[in-house]
Symmetry: C2
């Protein structure tokens, strides 16, 4: 009897989990945001931009690697609204798009360092 009610409890939880499950598309979008933040080369760019905007070749200096790779990464970051940019003459200045980005990185850092 105890087993049955425990089983029922678990089944109820499965139903609750299914009910609370976000739509497939939303999960994909959230996943994509995380994916963009998961690549070390892109994270480096974001740390470089944390203090303020930089033009592309200064980003290249700050993170190392070649110009083309950095430019591809910046495109990915742009496409996902993680960074934004503005042109100033020949240069294009990049900056972090909004506060959530740094918040996410901060929370991730905490999670890495805490050992609850």
């Amino acid at each position: 009897m105890e087993n049955i009610s425990e089983e029922e409890l678990h089944e109820a939880r499965v139903k609750a989990a299914l009910a609370a499950m976000p739509a497939e598309e939303e999960i994909e979008v959230i996943g994509t945001r995380f994916k963009v933040l998961s690549e070390p080369s892109r994270l480096k760019i974001l740390f470089a931009l944390a203090d303020g905007e930089l033009c592309v070749d200064h980003v290249v200096e700050a993170v190392g690697g070649n110009q083309s790779a950095v430019s591809h990464q910046l495109k990915t970051l742009r496409d996902n609204r993680i960074v934004k940019c503005r042109r100033d003459g020949k240069k294009v200045l990049y900056s972090i798009a909004d506060g959530h980005v740094l918040t996410m990185i901060e929370v991730a850092k905490e999670h890495v360092h805490c050992h609850e």
Copy 2:
């Protein structure tokens, strides 16, 4: 003259960015955490676990897909301390390891939905 000082400003920012850049290993660890959260199949598992612990076959029910795939994902989540588990007889009950995980997902959700 104005150009030179602007250039100097940018160079100073590059130096600041380099100085504030976390160590390579830390960036990798943070990236790995994000990577683990980036896969839709793993995110689904976390949404399923958001309300409380579930045993593996109930996770399988909640997220769909086959047992082996889910088990591999759970291992990845475990290895990265995103979830924890305890055995109860034949069953193994999984739950979310700590509060930061749901926080990160929440912030990501906000970032997806806001259009600053």
